[in-house]
Amino acid sequence: MEWLYVLMPIAGVKIFWPGLIILGIGVGIIGGFFGMGGAWMVTPGLNILGFPMAFAIGTDIAHMAGKSLISTMRHGKFGNVDYKLGLIMLVGTVVGFEVGAQMVMWLERIGNVEKVVRWIYIALLAGIAWMVFHDVGKRKKMERAAAAKGEVLDDSVQGIDFASKLHKIKIPPMVHLKEAGIYCSAWLPIAVSFFTGWLAGILGIGGGLIRMPALIYLIGCPTHVAVGTDLFEVAISGLYGAATYTWKGRTELVAALIMLIGAAMGAQVGAVATKYIKGYGIRVAFGLAVVGCAISILLKLVQPWLPAYKSILDAASTTLVLGLVLSMSVYIFVKMVQGAKREIAMKKNR
């Protein structure tokens, strides 16, 4: 079975290549569907396959750039990418990220901040999950109330609507974001992206998990446009990240390419699946992904208090993340197949 393993030229380790393709397909589907890079899912997967940690992040970012690019192209054809908004936000994200990263270095000089940062991350994820499910719950309540009156609730009505209040702040210059259907002050996306970039810089993450809900709840993007626009940002920042990590000798291109074979195809499946699932369906699945991510981090955080169970907690965290990747990608794939079947049947009936 030697042919199932490939020697990585830079890292110098033998890796089970079908595992890389399977992992790529899973995270590709999820990334294309939710509009995020998904580093929190890829790193434990690469670790299990025997990848040295030093190369895991760089390799993950390199494959992320490729898969996000193809997802952005697909979402762009569906009219789900607001390029103007993406470019404006990119400025805020980069500046915010740098400020956040510098702040962490400053805090590190004062003391150990790693644990504090992780707890902040947990609190943030809990907040995002609460907001998503509170929004979904409120929307359901409104639907029931409308149904009791014999009416059907309009698709544009949302459970939580912070964005329309923020749109009332009319500080020039004002921008019209066509695909997102928003007219607001340019300072709004800059401030939001600075904030999400700052958080990502402090937490040491890509930021898709924070930016996607921020695009929906603070900027007011429809879910599909939030997914597409976020992917546009991930593609650009991923390419920059791939360049810097490669320059530092932390990317294993062969592994990234093998993953990309699966991820590029998976990303297309994920992007096309958004055609068949309503915005609120995407929000619910996203909320579940956030909860899974939070629990996996929590399992790592409690280890100092339960040293005897360290190996069990580690295994539970990895199993949770990989189980989540598997179940979510299967769910999205099934939804995509069902939707495609319906679409093809409708075409035939015409």
Binding site: L7, V95, K248, G249, L253, Q268, I277, G279
Partner: protein
Amino acid sequence: MRTKLSKLWWSLMAMIILSPGFAFAAGGGGAAPIVLVADTRKLSGVMAWWANLYNESHFQFMILTIIIIPVTGVIFGVLADIIMSHIGIDLKSKSLPGH
């Protein structure tokens, strides 16, 4: 007020765009890459060439990486497009409206 804010906006934009240049001019951005040598003894063909390129020039290795990654992504993405179009999926319009 409007004009002042507009001026502030454009000044900020110019500062953001020009800041990397200023940083380099001030001597910033020159962090040394981590030195790591790939072991090429067990490698042959393309893999050996790739590892040698890594050992010889991190810069060329980086440039090739950021060219190969998007190109490969696009190739396999287009392949997935062809398969899905062949099945009969409409890849040009989204079907569901709403938030």
